[in-house]
Amino acid sequence: MNGERRGSVGVTPTDPLHQGDPWAVLRAATRARVALGRAGDALPTSRELEFRAAHAAARDAVHQPLDPAVLRSALPGEELLEVRSAAPDRATYLQRPDLGRQLAAGTELPRTGADLAVVMADGLSPAAVHEHAPGLVVALRERLTGWTLSPVVLAHQARVALGDAVGEALGARAVVVLIGERPGLSSADSLGVYLTWDPRPGRADSERNCVSNVRPPHGLSYARAADTVAALLTAARELGASGVALKDEGPVLPPGAG
């Protein structure tokens, strides 16, 4: 195999340079990094750099800070509040998930008594929040006309369960947390949505419902994700609970939503 000939990023088997390349059979069969060629026993330089570029994008997605300015400008007219978890920095956040589930000491939030609190949490990919959370918030608002919403809360160094503390402080009946999912090499900006009825610290993961991989155009669209979340919220309100109980009795999640 000649790594030079088989070239660089984005080359497809239909590229004229590659017509008649028997190794294209392997590459066409899977997204896995097959038939990369060799430089001695190692990878050719071009392949090595492709891999590093993918890893760098994922690393940057994890470490780039959540930028409130980006979200404010993407959601004009939306009132935004900001909170921090008890994890003071990224390194602590990554090593102490327990701290990422608690609000920083002295955090004060207005008691709104709203039906729903929406939290935009950095999680493991602030990049995903920048890219997809505003669009999903807009789509959710369109579908939740019968619901009162408290101001959207931006949460720094946050895990999913921080939404329980936020929802409780706001006095909301339910909380929806939009959070950056762990970046993969091919998807650094995937957003997850976690819904918890009657939020308060100590809720188990089994008491939540999740819609993952919100990431148009490759993953779930905002409209489809918002449809699912709105349906789950309506069912949770009827049942007075979320999580496993809701999955059993509520609407069936669309494929890929779970």
Binding site: M1, D21, P22, W23, V25, L26, R27, A29, T30, R31, A32, R33, V34, A35, L36, G37, R38, D41, A42, L43, R47, F51, R52, A54, H55, A58, R59, A61, V62, L94, Q95, R96, P97, D98, L124, R182, P183, G184, L185, S186, A188
Partner: protein, 470 residues
């Protein structure tokens, strides 16, 4: 006896064995998260100092996880072999470290390897806590554990690999393409092992048939495995699927294993089922286990005597007692998969990989390692290179390899097929003998015994590519 030592003018005391073991453990994020790590570097050395003087026999009298509460502890103590223990019965933990290093330097593999059934996981974990990385390598490479089914693993001068052809939807052509790519790089002598995207019996059976067909078509002396839950494997076994290996993740406490949905009885039943198929040619080892530091903590199943948190390295070693009960062909720790809250950076992952290899080998396991990382850990390809080469030097049984180091189903990075070639050539290691002979028959080896880079029109390449053509 009061367990205390003075370091830097401060005297540290360790009231229980659980705390002593935890405080003596080299720093890692999981022990900090569990609240059992040493509070300072000085306290850690004080604990190591106390641990070094602790008689090994203490571990037969005093438990880290209670005998009455936990079936893993009962398994460990009820199967302890006093005769195998005799050569080191009078030693302290520090004394065992010294003795192992002396035997390793003298090349006395029989003395080291003969201890396996006489040592408990806690003894071995304690010894590891006193060892430097090079100590772990030096003793590991002189601990001999040989197993076999259709290839022989663990022989001196050999480094095998698991070819991991995962696909996000278990697509047969996609899986086959990754298998072909790995075979062309001389990988797959330990196992062709797939993590299925969904744990259904039908899917598991289909993947087993697929890999079995490739193995038979090309006469490859290796074995297949679909890493489904043991209950799923039992189901397909009963339906007549070609099961070479029964796989299961295991951990070091009974509640953690309950979290995995397994009991010792279930593992015994599945092993018996696979043995009855008689699919081996060179051996009869039909189980495969995966483990990893932090699995008990992540399941909130990490507490020992008095409800105190047990350090993750000790719990990991206890998982090996579960594995060895079932005479495995393969065991590997998945060392960087679980995330930075358990092993934060390259230094911690490297250390844990060497510890796990050492502890598993010394307890008699055919120990391999999935050298890997996630994108939120402070680890990159340089770190995995370092661990891979040290493991090769340590006589590691096998490494896991995926296409281009990128697992597109489990979304983490492991080693690539190229990495395995590099480790073998840098360290002068060879594939399993039966598999090496197959590579030679397929004209995949050059005159020096290295895996050749074929052109796509070479007969072997054409033959293998045919398998991946829909």
């Amino acid at each position: 006896m009061r367990r205390r030592a003075t370091v830097g003018g401060h005297t540290y005391e360790f009231p229980t064995l659980v705390e002593l073991m935890a405080r003596a453990t080299p720093l890692r994020s999981g022990d900090v998260l569990a609240g059992c790590a040493a509070g300072s570097a000085a306290e850690r050395v004080a604990a190591q100092t106390v641990l070094a003087d602790l008689p090994l026999a203490t571990f037969l009298e005093e438990q880290v996880v209670g005998y009455d509460e936990d079936d893993v502890t009962r398994l460990i103590l009820d199967t302890h072999d006093r005769a195998a223990f005799a050569p080191v019965a009078a030693l302290t933990v520090g004394g065992l470290r010294d003795r192992l290093l002396a035997w390793a330097a003298a090349g006395d593999e029989a003395a080291i390897s003969g201890l396996a059934r006489g040592l408990t996981p806690e003894m071995v974990a304690a010894t590891a806590k006193l060892m430097r990385n090079a100590d772990l390598v030096a003793v590991g490479r002189r601990t001999r554990v040989v197993t076999g089914l259709r290839s022989t693993l663990g022989l001196p001068g050999r480094l095998a690999s698991r070819l991991q052809p995962n696909h996000p939807t278990d697509d047969p052509v996609g899986v086959t393409a990754a298998i072909v790519d790995g075979l062309l790089s001389g990988c797959g002598d330990a196992v062709i092992g797939i993590n299925p995207a969904t744990d259904s019996p039908a899917r598991t059976a289909a993947l087993l048939e697929l890999v079995d067909a490739v193995i038979r078509r090309y006469g490859i002396p290796t074995q297949s495995c679909v890493l489904a839950h043991v209950t799923t494997t039992l189901r397909v076994l009963e339906q007549g699927a070609p099961v070479d290996l029964v796989f299961q993740s295991v951990a070091g406490t009974q509640p953690a294993n309950r979290g995995f949905g397994v009991t010792l009885d279930l593992l015994a039943e599945a092993r018996a089922g696979a043995l009855a198929l008689g699919r081996g040619t060179v051996g009869r080892n039909v189980t495969y286990f995966e483990t990893g530091q932090g699995s008990a903590l992540s399941a909130d199943a990490h507490r020992g005597v008095g409800g105190r948190p047990v350090d993750q390295q000790t719990l990991e070693a206890r998982a090996y007692a579960v594995a060895r009960e079932f005479s495995p062909l393969l065991v590997n720790t998945v060392v960087g998969f679980i995330g930075p809250e358990y092993l934060y950076d390259g230094k911690q992952v490297l250390r844990a990989g060497l510890e796990d290899h050492f502890c598993g080998k010394l307890l008699g396991l055919p120990m391999g390692v999935d050298v890997c990382y996630t994108n939120h850990a402070e680890v990159d390809g340089d770190d995995t290179d370092s661990l891979m080469l040290l493991l090769g030097a340590a006589g590691c049984t096998f490494l896991i390899a995926v296409p281009g180091a990128d697992d597109v189903m489990l979304h983490y990075q492991s080693l690539s097929f190229s990495d395995v070639l590099t480790a073998r050539s840098v360290l002068g290691l060879r594939p399993a003998p039966e598999f090496e002979a197959w590579l030679a028959r397929m004209e995949l080896l050059d005159d020096a015994g290295r895996v050749r880079e074929l052109t796509a029109d070479a007969p072997t390449a054409r033959a293998l590519l045919a398998a991946a053509t829909p």
